[in-house]
Amino acid sequence: MYNKNIWELAEAWVDGSMHAADKQLLDERKQADPAFAAEFRDAVNMLRSLQGSGDHKRFKNALAEAHQSATAQQPGTIVPKTISLVRNHWRTAAIAASIAIITSLATFWIAQHNNNKIASQYSLLRRDLETYKRSQNKIIRDIKEQATVTPQLEARYTGTGFALTNDGYLVTSYHVISGADSVYIQNRDGNYYKTHIVAFNEATDVVVLKVEDKKFRFSKQDVPYSIAKSKKKLGARVFTLGFPQDEIVYNEGYISAKNGYNGDSSQYRLDIPAGPGQSGSPVADASGNIIGIITGKESESEGTTYAVASEAIIDLLNSVPEKNKIRLNAYSKLGKLGREQQIEKMEYYTCAIKVYKK
């Protein structure tokens, strides 16, 4: 056995064609010589990989052939679709129906029993139907406050936006509102205001909206922050305000790379937590200059977030006829304030975006 090539041995081992006597000799040699044992193991792995890869390739080719013959079938042989469609969709239909029943029962129940018990029952419902949290919330708000303008449906998507001017020009991520039937903002007081699109750039994922109500103001004072015209340096401390839930949420972090996903130079890579609903949130540096808009996060790792650099806003504004109506601050008025005061001011100009789709 000693005069045999290691590959010959490995091959016989993998094939299972090795004689019992040889097997025993091999085991003894492996025990006596660990270096040989390691080499033998590598050889066996190599052979298995090659065989596996061969089988894999042959199976793939066979699949391609199967595809050819499956698609070459005459159209006449296809089973009538009506029956199988029903069969395919009954689960979806059943789920949709049960959600509809639950939602309408809940609405009916809340409307009927508008008393103290609602709160406890409601929190139960909220746990069970996490997705419907917002719509249920709104139903309650309707009853309690009789808000003046409230959209009829529940929002399909939510995001965050922030003011460019006090009289209702604002920015958010394009993907938040793309394909929407209507877009509302919900301001700090919880009121809804309808908006229309002024300009957008799908590539940089920025959109400028305008609140339609002419009397609308974000706050009594003008927007306090400025929009940065150039990129900030690596490592700069940043913070963001957004609406991953009904309440505004603060997060802080830093610029972890000057370019965004796959080296996209119109983006920053940030190390800052972000969750669903925070798309469109303003990213501000320590002195309250807006340096970017949160656009997405890496799906694999927590805390890696991407933001469109604020230059994209400036570029977009330069391309629209309304640019004269949108005056941006040259300097931030928040520079000398502490973080709590900065947040307090910025809160007025940050709003939730509610997107409605049929």
Partner: protein, 190 residues
């Protein structure tokens, strides 16, 4: 139901053994199902073919190691894998960035995550093997491919590559394997 599962298991066995009739039956059933679903999900027929074939490779690789006992219908398993693969592909197309407000849709088919992971690792492994083979040079690359990928006998190879007999070809093959091993393990370490 028992009977059904029995025939399904039998179907799977034949599929893994490379029975063409079994493969065509499973594939055409699967393709019809996946392409219909894909049409709803915004994919085209080519996407459907890719996803469908990949899901069958996942099944094949899993069951050829002999550690797969069917607990559901073949088509149920394959469809779950296909959905999962498609969501992964969608995530990839958006350049790895999942749009934040649509995150929930991507979690629907988080089933069989291990199977998919094993499959992806295997694909990478085979890719590295192919790369090592490409670096190997001739006649080694062709000789090994002829034996392992095209399933030719050593006699055939001796004739094709001009060796006097199968034993000489075999000696050459062992030399090639030794060189491939060196290359392969050096690329893997990276």
């Amino acid at each position: 139901m028992h009977n059904d599962l029995y025939t399904e298991q039998e179907l799977l066995r034949q599929l893994v053994q490379g029975n063409h009739a079994a493969m065509e039956e499973v594939y055409s059933r699967q393709y019809r199902m996946v392409s219909r679903w894909m049409a709803k999900m915004g994919g085209n027929d080519d996407d459907a073919a890719d996803i469908c074939q990949e899901s069958m490779i996942v099944l094949y690789e899993k069951s050829r190691n002999g550690d797969f006992e069917l607990t559901s219908k073949l088509s149920t398993y394959l469809f779950a894998i296909a959905r999962n693969l498609w969501y992964k592909k969608l995530q990839g197309r958006q350049a790895g960035v999942v749009k934040i407000d649509e995150g929930d849709e991507l979690n629907i088919a988080a089933n069989y995550e291990d199977d998919i992971k094993a499959h992806q690792e295997r694909e990478i492994h085979y890719k590295q093997l192919d790369q090592a083979l490409d670096k190997l040079g001739e006649p080694c690359a062709s000789l090994l491919k002829s034996f392992y990928f095209n399933d030719n006998s050593m006699q055939q190879i001796a004739a094709d590559f001009g060796y006097t007999n199968a034993d000489n070809a075999k000696t050459q093959k062992y030399k090639c394997l030794a060189r491939l091993k060196k290359l392969f393990y050096s690329t893997q370490v990276k």
